[in-house]
Symmetry: C2
Subunit: 302 residues, 2 copies
C-alpha cells in the first residue's frame, strides 16, 4: 500500500510523540519536528508508509541520541499484557470456537496499541478485550485460515508491537507450533517487538523466534537481512499482524493472511471496510490459490 | 499565544483539506502538502499559529489558483445557520438570562466550525445548539462582561467563520448596537467570514461592518490595514471570537473578551481548561483594569 497524503499529519504527530518519549528537552523536540517536516517534504509517495516511518525513526534516534525511546513504554506494555494473559487463556479455552477467540484476542492486542497509548490502564484493556470477544466479526475467512494453516509446512508469523505479542501467543498456542516461526524486528523502532520482548512474552519457549534484521516498522523486505528474505521466500504461509505489516506487504505476491484492526481512515479505505473493523483477511494471491484448490477438490469428487 | 509543536500536524491536515476543497487533482494535493511541509519546517515557532496559517493558505491559493477554496462550504454554512436562526432567536428571548443564552449560542456557532466540518447536518447542529444551551458553563465572567459593555463607548466584535457569524448576530442583537462595529476578514482565508458573509448573515443591516484588510486567520495586527489598526487602537473593548482570534490576540495589551470553545488540546492547555469547555473570558489587561475599577467604586462608597 502506498503512502496516502493523509499519512503525513500522522508522521509529524508520531515524530513529536517519539521525541517526547526520548527527552524532555523542548529544543530537541523542535529540531525533531523540523527535521521530520523536511524529510517528509522530499518523500517518494509511491513507497509504503513504513518506509518513511523507518527514515523518520532513524532521524529521531540520531537527533535525540536515544537508541530506544519507547523502551519504558514497551516494558510496561509487556507487563500489563502478561497480567492479562491467564484470564485471556481461559477465555480462549472455554470459547465455543477457541481458534476464533484467539484470533479475536490477537486483534484486541492490536487495538490496544500498547506503548503508544501511554495512558493505557488495566481496566481499559479489560474493556477492549471484552469488546473484541463479543464484537461483530466477519469470520467468513476463518475456515480458509484453518485450511491454509493445515496445508502449510512453514508458517512465518510476523509480530507487531511489544505487549501485543503476548496476545499473539494465545493464537500461536492454537496453531501447529512445530510449523510456526515468530518474527520480531532486528532493532528498536517505535514500540515494535524485538527479541527481548519475545523472550519476556514467553514466545521463545514456545516456537522458533527470528529477527527480520530491520529497523523499519512492518516488514520492508528491501531493508531486511538476506537471511530473513531467504526465510520469507521459503515460507508457504505468512501471518502478518498489525497495520504496518499490512501497509508494507499488501502488494507482495506471497500467501499472506493479515490480522489487524483497521484503526485509521487510510487503512480502512485501502481495505474497503469501516474504521474500527476487526480484520482477518487473506491477500489476493492466497485468495486466487485457495479458490483454485477448492475447485480442484470439487473436480476430484466428481 | 505562540505555536506549539502540536500545531504542526494540524497545519498539514488543514492544508490537505483545503487542497481537496480547491481541486480534485491529486498531483496538486501532493504539491500542496509537500510545499506546506517545507514551509512549516522553516517556521519561526515564536509566532502565533495564525501567522503560519496565513502563509499556508496563501501558498495553497497560489498553487491551486483558487482564490477561495472554501467558497461553497461557506455558502452552505451561511444557509444552514440562517435556517436555524429564528428558532435560536426564540430560545434567546425566552431564556431566563437572554444575554447568557446569546453568549452560549455564539459559542455553539464556534463549536460547529461550519464549512470545515463538511458533513455537518441540520440535526447535528440542532443537537450542538441544545447542548450549548444546557451544558455547564462558567458564567462567572458574565457580570464583568455586562459591566465592560455598559462602560465601553466603542466595541469591536472580531468575527470568526462564515455561518458562525449568524450565531454572533444573536449576541449582537442583545448588545447596545450603536457602540458595536463587526469585523470581517479583508479577503478569503479558510472559511473565515468576509464582507459577503456579513451581508448574507444580515449583520450589515444591524451594525457597522468593516474589514481588517488582512488575509490571515484570527487578527494578525501586523498584516491588517493601517485603517483597521487605527480603529483597533481606538476601541475601548474588543470582543474576539473563536480560536484563531484567541491565538493571535492573547498577548495583546488591550481590553479584550474572548468567546470560544476550547476545541483542541493546545488551546485548552493555554487557557488552562479542559478540552471542550465553553469559554467567555476577559484577558489579563481587562482583568487588572476591572479589578482596579471595582476597587475605586468600593473606595468611593466608603
Amino acid at each position: 500500500m502506498r503512502i496516502y497524503l493523509d499519512c503525513f499529519p500522522c508522521f509529524v504527530r508520531q515524530a513529536l510523540d517519539a521525541a517526547r518519549f526520548a527527552t524532555d528537552d523542548e529544543e530537541v523536540h523542535t529540531t525533531v519536528v523540523q527535521s521530520v517536516l523536511r524529510l517528509a517534504a522530499r518523500t517518494d509517495t509511491h513507497n509504503p508508509p513504513p518506509v518513511i516511518g523507518q527514515q523518520v525513526h532513524r532521524l529521531i534516534r540520531q537527533i535525540t541520541g536515544k537508541e530506544d525511546p519507547y523502551r519504558e513504554q514497551k516494558r510496561r506494555s509487556n507487563e500489563l499484557a502478561l497480567r492479562l494473559y491467564s484470564e485471556m487463556k481461559q477465555d480462549v479455552d472455554e470459547a465455543p470456537n477457541p481458534l476464533e477467540a484467539a484470533v479475536r484476542l490477537a486483534i484486541a492486542g492490536n487495538i490496544l496499541d500498547f506503548g503508544v497509548n501511554s495512558s493505557l490502564e488495566f481496566c481499559h484493556a479489560e474493556n477492549v478485550i471484552g469488546a473484541a470477544l463479543n464484537e461483530e466479526f466477519d469470520s467468513s475467512e476463518l475456515s480458509a485460515f484453518v485450511s491454509v494453516i493445515n496445508q502449510a509446512r512453514d508458517i512465518l508469523y510476523l509480530g507487531d508491537n511489544a505487549g501485543e505479542i503476548v496476545f499473539d501467543r494465545l493464537l500461536i498456542e492454537k496453531l501447529p507450533r512445530e510449523k510456526v516461526t515468530f518474527v520480531v524486528k532486528g532493532s528498536p523502532v517505535i514500540n515494535d517487538a524485538t527479541m527481548e520482548d519475545a523472550e519476556i512474552a514467553g514466545l521463545t519457549d514456545l516456537v522458533d523466534v527470528i529477527t527480520n534484521g530491520s529497523d523499519g516498522p512492518g516488514t520492508i523486505l528491501e531493508t531486511c537481512s538476506p537471511q530473513f528474505r531467504e526465510r520469507f521466500g521459503r515460507a508457504d504461509l505468512i501471518i502478518a499482524k498489525g497495520q504496518a505489516n499490512y501497509e508494507s506487504l499488501s502488494s507482495v505476491n506471497k500467501p499472506i493472511f493479515f490480522i489487524l484492526k483497521a484503526k485509521c481512515p487510510v487503512i480502512a479505505r485501502d481495505l474497503d471496510c469501516e474504521i474500527g473493523k476487526m480484520i482477518l483477511r487473506r491477500n489476493k494471491y492466497l485468495g486466487t490459490r485457495f479458490i483454485a484448490r477448492e475447485k480442484e477438490k470439487a473436480d476430484a469428487k466428481l
